[in-house]
Amino acid sequence: MKKVLSFVLNGHEVSAEIESHKMLLQVLREEFQLTGTKEGCGQGECGACTVLVDGIPVDSCIYPSFEVDGKSVTTIEGLLGEGNVLHPIQAAFVAHGGVQCGFCTPGMIMSSKALLDETPMPTVQEVRNALAGNLCRCTGYVQIVDSVLSAAEKIQAEIKQ
């Protein structure tokens, strides 16, 4: 069965006719070719597919697509500014070695975005807890946590200016 969905995707109003059993992840990757959102497990266990729906981080691999109707979805592609300017969180992951193989990175950054939107200056513990649902096999998380903390400081410094 197909259903027409209308929602805001990375700031643009979009609509698409979707088979209703599809999950949001498939819609993003297949209908909109937004392949920055990754499928690590397909079961909501690893967090590689994290996107923001109305600002809340969700595992898009188990998020029924029809639920986004009328909502706003932000993916990793939506963080990039005009002229390929990295979002401060993305820039911090580059500067502090928060990336190795990179497969968990988009989801990791989206969870970090949700955290910093809610808690602009988190503690180490808050960062670790916010990333509890995002698994990484390469980094041991140390440089990821450093990246998020540094991004928080940068964003706050920019706001103060």
């Binding site: 266990e45 963080l79 993305q90 990336v99 193989c101 950054i109 998380y141 440089q143 990821i144």
Partner: protein, 796 residues
């Protein structure tokens, strides 16, 4: 060596911006025109005869383009000793055996088609314990060997034995002896990006395969053999490697799914993509082998090691991968960590109906270190010594040749042990925590640091190509899989050539354009490629300086004339503008050529790109492309004696943990973790720490939580809820890393390989700390709260 400009800095990785933006292209993201989706039908039994396969309903399903089995495709033999087949005929020997496969226009149709394939089996008795498989009358996994000769047992014909000195005599003369029995479980690599490939044929029947591999050139060889088996002898394979979502050893062999997509692509004439989902990845990729180890070590009254006796049984599973050669690396620490004169080591690798195994990060070393380093603490206790003192007494030293013939050159073992002891406050905390159930433990590591000659060649190629703008393409045979290969190679190339790192683009992962390389394994990527880059850069500099000898002074003259034109007050210096310089007079740094005698003269400077353009845009011009093939000065092990200098240099390290054990729940809390590694030289501060942090996280998972559980050959935990790799909150303890620079003469700028070692000593360090805390020794990984509680109960 003059002062280094880029080596040792904290440079961000060149591949990071695309990755953080979601723009890196993994196999999952790649689509080819007209592409079909492949899906594999796996066995429903661990050991059974295939009585019949009915594919008729699957074939009739709309959207299905091909259904293949072992009975309607050519036989393709795969694996280290060719005891495996792309598709199985006759019988299945493990649950993950590939019995049939389909290609369809849509992944959902492919999945539906797989369900429609009906296979009748006659179940056979299986054997799931390697010691049972060795018993007389055990079911035979393979009735014949790959040559068709009748087999009478389940022993894999890849024996490993090393003997040095007289262990029995040494046993009788030792003052103290400690015996132990240690086991390790199956471990899944758990790459965040699952495995997959897309195979397609061109109109000449040459194969193009995008695939997740660490060995593009050996894979090309494997696939060309498959093409020959398919009646396409003489046809070629081009292997292209997309961005890899981790690999950790999974890419060291070619796999059934790759051959199946090749067969499907050939049959349909269309590109066929197979990407494993997480459950398939757990069930059908090869994990790290489980081991059973019987060990004893002895020492004299002063604590000097007298002997080491290690016997192992490895569960191979049903088929044989390159994982069967991991004992060659286990043998390094077993023969050579701490100085020990008498050594006996023997490994039996045994077929069972379990999933077949392959290498994972560490290549056998984590299994060996687990037994060795726990048993060192047992021996210290038997001898009444502090485990740190026993280790220091027997430490490895520089310029020493071990009984196995390993030529140790630089060696920071002692510094590593002392660094860990100091940072952990060993002397203060060790043996004192009983009341609080806190303790400290440590373990050492010894690994290849200068690649390892597992194959006859240990070589790698680099091509360095310079363009009109002074950009440098460094075209490499090695692979980036997340470890930081491109970052290290870009820094080393820039440093060696005399350009800035942003001028360097590292190109990898294409057998049609990249020079040959034996594979990115054995922590060899940066070590070999950077050495090759240094050689290629030397050749490029020679050519650049030759060009400069002609063009330098005229270019200087030209630019000064321009300056004079713009600024009439500028006074032209009085120089011989027709002068032909000698190439040896030049130096090149940060993209600028200058005369060595006058490095500070601001007038006598010409950019590299100006010189390169001069070379291109003239009659009888030239270009600068250089190449180098680097093969380290190491040796393959002698087949009979297992002796030889396997690596060009060796890496040492020590890790230590302070833990607290909750005696009510059995839970272990890590309070502090220290890792000191002799890395030769730090190439990139950021990526080297990333490698060690990441290794430690895998090591802590190995120690405390990871176990690929099976029941009669079937995996019970094919997901991240039940197979527990560590999360960010789990890793919430301070980790201090100390990189000790011993500047190895064989290493690029002195660097040793660092990829694997981070996880090698982690588990025994934690186990030793647990023993110090609560007096229980867990000998079978992982160290779970249940095991701690049971052991505490037994101790009461």
């Amino acid at each position: 060596m003059s002062a280094l400009r880029f080596i040792g800095t904290e440079a961000p990785r060149p591949d990071a911006p695309d990755k953080v933006a979601g723009k890196a292209v993994y196999i999952h993201d790649l689509v080819r025109p007209g592409m079909l989706y492949g899906k594999i039908k796996f066995s429903s039994f661990a050991h059974a005869r295939i009585k019949s396969i009915d594919t008729s309903r699957a074939e009739r399903l709309p959207g299905v383009r091909a259904v293949i089995t072992g009975y309607n495709t050519p036989e393709i033999r795969i694996g280290f000793i060719k005891d495996n087949f792309a598709l199985k005929k006759g019988k299945v020997r493990q649950y993950r055996d590939e019995v049939a496969a389909v290609a369809a226009t849509d992944p959902d149709i492919a999945e539906e088609a797989i369900e429609l394939i009906k296979i009748e089996y006659e179940e056979l008795p299986g054997v799931f314990d390697p010691e049972d498989a060795l018993k007389e009358g055990a079911p035979l996994i393979h009735e014949t060997d790959p040559r068709g000769k009748h087999r009478t047992d389940n022993i894999v014909p890849v024996p490993w034995k090393f003997v040095s000195g007289d262990v029995e005599k040494a046993k009788s003369e030792s003052a103290h002896i400690a015996e132990g029995y240690f086991t390790t479980p199956l471990i899944q690599q758990s790459c965040m990006g699952t495995a997959g490939c897309i195979a397609e044929f061109d109109l000449q029947n040459n194969l193009l395969i995008h695939t997740k591999t660490q060995i593009p050139f050996l894979a090309q060889n494997d696939f060309n053999r498959a093409l020959a088996a398919m009646g396409l002898k003489g046809k070629n394979t081009r292997v292209v490697v997309p961005t890899l979502g981790g690999s950790f050893g999974t890419g060291l062999d070619t796999h059934g799914y790759e051959y199946i997509s090749i067969l499907l692509a050939y049959k349909t004439g269309r590109p066929v993509k197979i990407v494993l989902n997480r459950e398939e990845e757990f069930a059908s990729l090869s994990p790290r082998q489980p081991t059973r180890t019987w060990i004893s070590q002895g020492c004299d009254r002063e604590g000097r090691l007298t002997f080491r006796d290690v016997r192992m049984i490895l569960d191979n599973g049903a088929y044989t991968s390159w994982g069967a050669t991991t004992p060659s690396v286990m043998m390094l620490p077993i023969s050579s960590i701490y100085r020990v004169p008498n050594v006996f080591y023997e490994t039996k690798i045994v077929y069972t109906n379990n999933t077949y195994c392959q290498a994972m990060r560490g290549y056998g070393n984590p299994q060996a270190a687990w037994a060795l380093e726990c048993n060192m603490d047992q021996l210290a206790e038997a001898a009444g010594m502090d485990p740190l003192d026993l280790r220091l007494k027997n430490k490895n030293i520089p310029n020493d040749i071990t009984p196995m013939g390993l030529n140790i050159t630089t060696c920071g073992h002692e510094q590593c042990l002392n660094a860990v002891a100091e940072r952990l406050e060993w002397r203060k905390l060790r043996g004192k925590g009983a009341a609080k159930a806190r303790g400290v433990g440590m373990a050492s590591l010894f690994h290849v640091g200068g690649s390892g000659r597992v194959y006859r060649s240990d070589g790698t190629g680099i091509i360095m190509k310079l363009d009109d703008f002074g950009n440098v393409s460094v075209i490499a045979g090695g692979i980036e899989m997340g470890q930081g290969f491109t970052s290290a190679l870009a820094l080393a190339s820039a440093e060696a050539l005399g350009v800035t790192p942003e001028k360097v683009t590292v190109v990898t992962g294409d057998t049609a354009t990249c020079p040959w390389d034996v594979g990115t394994h054995a922590s060899r990527g940066a070590f070999t490629a950077c050495n090759a880059a240094i050689l290629a850069a030397e050749k490029a500099r020679e050519k650049i300086f030759k060009l400069a000898s002609e063009h330098f002074m005229p270019r200087v003259h030209f630019s000064l004339k321009l300056r004079k034109k713009k600024d009439p007050s500028f006074e032209m210096p009085d120089l011989n503008w027709e002068r032909i310089c000698d190439p040896s007079e030049f130096d090149l740094k940060e993209n600028v050529l200058f005369l060595k005698e006058e490095p500070k003269n601001p007038l006598l400077r010409v950019t590299l790109e100006e010189i390169l353009r001069e070379a291109h845009f003239k009659e009888q011009g030239t270009m600068i492309v250089t190449e180098a093939f680097y093969d380290p000065c190491n040796q393959m092990l002698d087949a009979a004696t297992c002796r030889g200098n396997l690596s060009a240099t060796y890496i040492f390290g020590a890790q230590g943990a302070e833990v607290e054990v909750d005696v009510e729940t059995g839970e272990i809390k890590i309070l502090n973790f220290v890792a000191a590694h002799d890395v030769g030289r730090v190439l990139n501060q950021q990526t080297i720490k990333g490698q060690i942090y990441g290794g430690i996280a895998q090591g802590v998972g190995y120690a405390l939580s990871e176990e690929y559980r099976t029941s009669k050959g079937r995996n019970l935990n094919p997901n991240f809820l039940d197979y527990k790799i560590l999360s960010a909150p789990d890793m919430n303890f301070p980790i201090h890393i100390e990189c000790i620079e011993t500047l190895d003469r064989e290493g690029p700028f002195g660097a040793k390989g660092v990829g694997e070692p981070g996880l090698v000593p982690t588990a025994p360090a934690i186990a030793n700390a647990v023993y110090d805390a609560v007096g229980v020794r867990i000998t079978d990984l992982p160290i779970t709260p249940e095991k701690i509680l049971a052991a505490l109960k037994r101790n009461k």
